[in-house]
Amino acid sequence: MPSVKAPKILLVCHNHPHIKPGGAEGYALNLYEAIRDAGEFEPVFLGRTGPSPMPPIVFRPPHPYSPITSVNDDPNQYLIYTDLNGFDFFFHRSPNKETITKDYRDFLLAHEPDVVHFQHNYLLGYDWLRVTRNTLPDAPIIYMLHEYLPICFHDGQMIRTHDKSLCQEQTPRRCHECFPWKSPQAFKMRERWMKSHLALVDIFIAPSEYVRDRYVDWGIPAEKIQVETYAMPPFAHTENTEDRPKRNRFAFFGQFTPYKGTDVLLKAMGILGEDFDGHLWIHGANLETQAPHFQEEFQDLLEKTSKTVTFAGPYDHATELHQLMGATDWVIIPSIWWETGPLVALEAFQNGRPVICSNIGGMSEKVTDGVSGLHFNVGDPDDLALALKRAAETPGLWSKLHAGIPPVYDIRDHAAVVADIYRRALAAGGQRAKATGTVTDPKEILSA
């Protein structure tokens, strides 16, 4: 148990893995446990529950008079229920301010954390940052940049809506082109609003260089952002030591969204044809919640590739992933968006699987082409087909890339770096710049 004097860290997250598994929230809980186990700080985890665009959807607070409730037996894990009535997905804020000015504020005052570490503001709202600052003026605010929602209204994907091309340049004009019914002025107002709240953050943590660069381009001061990549809990399994004569088994793990590139992957399998000496397994969930045209195209592509592709469907992450990874040789990440620092790549590496991925953003940063995996041109089924063929048919390639897999960053080491960030923020606490504004002297104006 942490000592009573340990500084308290509040981790705020848009979800709790207890409610629904997910990448960012899973990482956040892993971080919580690693910080707790290290003992120097006492972490408190506050995860959102409530209505959501994706199931499971919780429609009422757990208790009639308290939106806050504990999770299981851990005195430092909590859920906070927030509704989505009138939620503004453009500015990303809720009209129900009492959730933050009363419930969340009371929670802060009760716990008095020394540091508040935001993991995600999705479905919460960016004004949570200001209430945190108002309530605990001396507590540093740390913010994990899991995604690009503040920058991009297109679900933070930074993909243009009309042609799915990649976007690295957010301007009111270009955003208006993606969403013609929203004026450029409205996009400027959105950007100003996001930045007015993010300005209260003391230190941002970016999971990749790529994420940091995007936020610096967008206007966050570079000196405020520290790159610190994702990490995994220690590998709980023995390494897969199977020896197959051929390394031609491919697998996809993940959600079925239009940005994950499953269509690119299936088209590549189609190009390779029925005679291809290799097989693809597709593991994932939530196909049924996707748009009908997406599901239709997916089914159509599956039918055309039925000889070489198996649709395996959902799997249990905790109990099945290791075995499924063992049954494959290569893990494919064909995302057509940037990703931040894909956790599935770390899982593949833990299981000793080289990764074939799109050559952009967080993916190409995590997987080194020709060392720990192969890159292909993002969104290009022909290039992916070539990579798959090469992977399946080049003798010795798998073993070479297998040997090139880097050690997976251990969450305990990661937590130690994050603890450094907390210490640094706490030390700077008193010197945090207070906004004063720049006033120009009239004499200076007239002599100019």
């Binding site: 500015f91 804020r93 009209p95 301010k97 009492e98 933050i100 000015t101 004004d127 200001r130 209430v131 108002n134 301007t171 009111p172 004009r173 004026s183 450029p184 002025q185 409205a186 996009f187 400027k188 107002m189 100003r192 609003w193 007015s196 709240h197 300005a199 906004a435 004063t436 504004g437 720049t438 006033v439 120009t440 002297d441 009239p442 004499k443 104006i445 007239l446 002599s447 100019a448």
Partner: protein
């Protein structure tokens, strides 16, 4: 006084007939004589007495008879012209006591006495016709009508409007004619080349108020003595509908005719504005947090419809100490949104902690009305008029503006650089231009659309006018000038009007590029609503200022060549 020689038109209006023009021998409680207005109708004299306030009908010693019996006995035998004079006289004389009940009685008087002319039934093959499309009530005594009247056989020599109460107004010498291609097409007889255009628009005033929706009567007579009448449509009384209808008529006119504008459209619009301005009232003032009691600056922000801009603005204000020291007054000009705005404000204050007040207006007042109402409760020595969609680029702007304002003894209005969302210039001072051959002065923006760093746009200097979207002015000066003019419709040109008045009194208007704000306007732009009012405001601004714009400003000002003009002051004395 003989029995039957008097009748009550209402509780306080008495109609009498006597044999001579002598004083009316009428007493209250046996003593006090009263004034009457009289009309000689030939064999006798008709008197209208309006009881002074405080005198009740029961106190007047008179034997009165029923109205209809009175009219039949004393007036029915008069000729039709005299009977028309009588109804007009009674309506005018009783005018000061007009109430709906009196008006109802006056309709009866009119119907008993007036000569009914042949009812006009318009047909495509008839030689003449008349229609009144609408009657708009501008105020109780002034009306605006639009219609058409055409006679293919002889010139129309008389067009008379008769109010329900019997007031008669000749329209022919006042109205302006309008083309009516629809009427010419409909008729198989009317000749487009003969005589005047069939359409007309007319603003007119009555001697007495008219309170009823109808029935109005319109009479027509041609040079051959052929007469006829039509019934007018129900009067449009609701002010927004009246304004919208005038704008609608006006939008159909391609080339603005000065007579149409000066004699019909602008008198009607200005009276409507006066009526609207007279009713502006703050319903309630609510304070969120504790607003400073003796601040340097009061910021007045009118809020119309887009109440959610409050959240964006407060988020920008929160980290600027100057905003916590200022007296911020939001003026809600959308009364229907009062509850939502109050809810929003009370929930946003605990997040942003910038104190402010909201003045909730009883009804929509327009930009100038909202600004003037907000200024009336301002506490600061200086006023900053600010639009709700203006967001500062960075903290410090207000103090920069204040310091500059205080450094210039002759200053009138001061405005900063305003930016579009893409960092191009929206406002760097204003001037006026006139297109070749055009009479109207258009406002024009210096360096519009150029980048915010454009060197010529980064010189502090005097300019002909500045925008009201973010304008600083001494509060006492603002009050001395009576605030923003209420003549313009829906918020347009009153800022330039104020700037010209300031120049006329020897003041200077300054543009200050050292303060930069974004003006994120047109997020909910409804072009069709603004377009006619803008056209009207442009005309009105030119009409009110005419050649004085040319006298007050230099040629360089007018051409927008400020950067090369050495008369422009760019340095302190």
């Amino acid at each position: 006084m003989p029995d039957g020689s008097a009748t009550w038109l209402s509780n306080d209006v008495l109609l009498l007939v006597t044999s001579s023009a002598d004083d009316v021998a009428l007493a209250v409680d046996g003593s006090r004589p009263m004034d009457a207005q009289s009309l000689d109708v030939g064999s006798s004299v008709l008197h209208v007495v309006v009881l002074p306030s405080g005198v009740r009908r029961a106190q007047v010693e008179v034997e009165a008879t029923d109205v209809k019996a009175f009219l039949r006995t004393h007036l029915a035998a008069l000729d039709s012209a005299m009977r028309n004079r009588v109804t007009d006289f009674i309506a005018s004389a009783a005018g000061s006591a007009t109430k709906p009940t009196l008006s109802e009685t006056l309709v009866e008087v009119r119907e008993v006495l007036r000569e009914r002319l042949p009812l006009k039934v318009n047909s495509p093959d008839g030689p003449r016709g008349m229609i009144v499309d609408h009657i708009l009530r501008v105020d109780d005594r002034s009306f605006y009508v639009k219609g058409w009247a055409h006679d293919a056989e002889a010139e129309i020599v008389r067009l008379t409007a008769v109010s329900p109460e019997g007031s008669r107004v000749e329209l022919l010498d006042k109205l302006v004619r309008q083309p009516r291609p629809d009427v010419l097409e409909w008729s198989s007889v009317f000749n487009p080349d003969a005589g005047a255009e069939p359409g007309f628009i007319c603003f007119f005033e009555l001697d007495a108020p008219s309170l009823l929706h109808g029935p109005w009567v319109f009479e027509m007579e041609n040079a051959d003595g052929v007469v006829g009448e039509i019934a007018g449509p129900r009067v449009t009384r609701d002010m927004p509908d009246v304004q919208a209808q005038i704008f609608h008529d006006f939008a159909e006119v391609r080339v603005l005719d000065d007579r149409l504008m000066e004699d019909h459209v602008s008198p009607a619009m200005m009276r409507l504005q006066q009526r609207a301005n007279a009713t502006i009232k703050i319903d309630q003032i609510t304070e969120y947090g504790t607003a400073p009691t003796s601040p340097d600056v009061s910021i007045v922000v009118p809020v119309y419809q887009n109440i959610e801009h409050l959240e964006a603005q407060l988020a920008e204000f929160a980290d600027d100490p100057a905003m916590h020291a200022a007296d911020i007054v939001y003026v809600l000009d959308s009364p229907e949104a009062a509850d939502s705005f109050d809810y929003l404000a009370s929930h946003l204050y605990p997040i942003y902690l910038v104190p402010f007040r909201i003045a909730f207006l009883e009804q929509n007042a327009g930009f100038s009305g909202a600004i003037n109402a907000g200024a009336s409760i301002a506490r600061g020595r200086l006023l900053l008029l600010l639009n709700s969609d203006v967001l500062p680029d960075k903290p410090g702007w207000l103090e920069t503006m204040r310091a500059f304002y205080d450094s210039q003894p002759q200053i009138g209005a001061l405005a900063p650089k305003l930016l579009y969302e893409d960092d191009s210039i929206q406002h760097a001072g204003m001037h006026f231009t006139r297109s070749p051959g055009q009479s109207v002065w258009q406002d024009a923006q210096y360096y519009k659309g150029l980048h915010r760093t454009f060197p010529k746009a980064n010189v502090a200097r005097t300019v002909p006018a500045v925008t009201g979207a973010c304008m600083m002015i001494d509060r006492a000066l603002f009050e001395e000038f009576g605030g923003l003019s209420g003549n313009y419709v829906r918020g347009d040109y009153e800022d330039f009007d104020l700037c010209l008045r300031l120049i006329e009194s020897g003041r200077e208007n300054w543009f200050l590029p050292a303060a930069e704000l974004y003006h994120l306007e047109a997020q909910s732009y409804t072009a069709d609503l603004r377009q006619p009012s803008n056209r009207y405001n442009v005309w009105l601004h030119t009409h009110l200022w005419k050649d004085r714009i040319g006298e007050l400003l230099t040629a360089e000002d007018l051409q927008g060549e400020a950067s090369t003009n050495d008369k422009i002051r760019t340095a302190a004395p």
